[in-house]
Symmetry: C2
Subunit: 140 residues, 2 copies
């Protein structure tokens, strides 16, 4: 487990012509500020890894499909301190709040659209995000 990551289970409201899914309210745990929202697609069996944000807090929601996330916390020497794996889908519908300086990657599990919404507290900037080679850590 990684203590700083907050998992918040969210409500799916059943409506006959299509469900309504909670996302995030400004009063919710994990909300600090609104910078930007963007959506990442991930194809089935494909992995996007690894990235680390130096300043951004992520709030990750999967409104469609099923996505497996890996989070890694490393020491100042670059060794793994803690790991956390979680699969998010309609059966486990939640929001994952990820503070800065945690390495993350994700894999598409569902056969149809796997979508991740990220509600970020700052706008995207190439300066504060770092890519790490996919082979540096094992994706579990």
């Amino acid at each position: 487990m990684i203590e700083e990551i907050i998992i918040t289970h969210l409500k799916r409201i059943h409506v006959s012509n299509g469900d309504v899914l909670h996302g995030m309210k400004k009063t919710d745990d994990g909300y600090t500020d609104f910078g930007e929202i963007y959506f990442s697609n991930i194809l089935k069996d494909k992995i996007k890894a690894w990235k680390i944000h130096k300043k951004m807090t992520l709030n990750l929601i999967v409104p469609s499909g099923s996505v497996r996330f890996n989070f890694i916390q490393v020491s100042s020497e670059g060794l793994i301190d803690n790991r956390m794996e979680i699969t998010v889908s309609s059966d486990n519908y939640c929001r994952i709040t990820v503070p800065p300086n945690i390495i993350f990657g994700f894999k598409g599990i569902g056969k149809d659209a796997n979508i991740i919404a990220n509600i970020a507290d700052i706008t995207h900037s190439d300066d504060e995000v770092k890519k790490i080679d996919i082979n540096k850590f094992e994706f579990k």
Copy 2:
């Protein structure tokens, strides 16, 4: 056309394992404040209509599927002043900013997941939203 509605075309960034879709930045046209984000699903050929928000400004994005929107502006006598119809999908990927006091409804067009993200400037409250019978206006 309804003058007060803002259509903003958004970027889809092609990435080999799954595209990244812009949503909304705090510096974007149409952004005033962050209250809440939620997701509405709409099944193929099904319609959700009509609703009117008295205070909320909606920012509607379709990150998956294809959705047809109808917007109606009525006079104080309840007569139609202006109408606007738009179909949003990956081929016409945009954000629709809808100020308060515009009647709206939507229909699922895509065969897979049709998802609408609403980035709202206030949190949901039953007090400021009114439902209007589906037969009151024609869905086009």
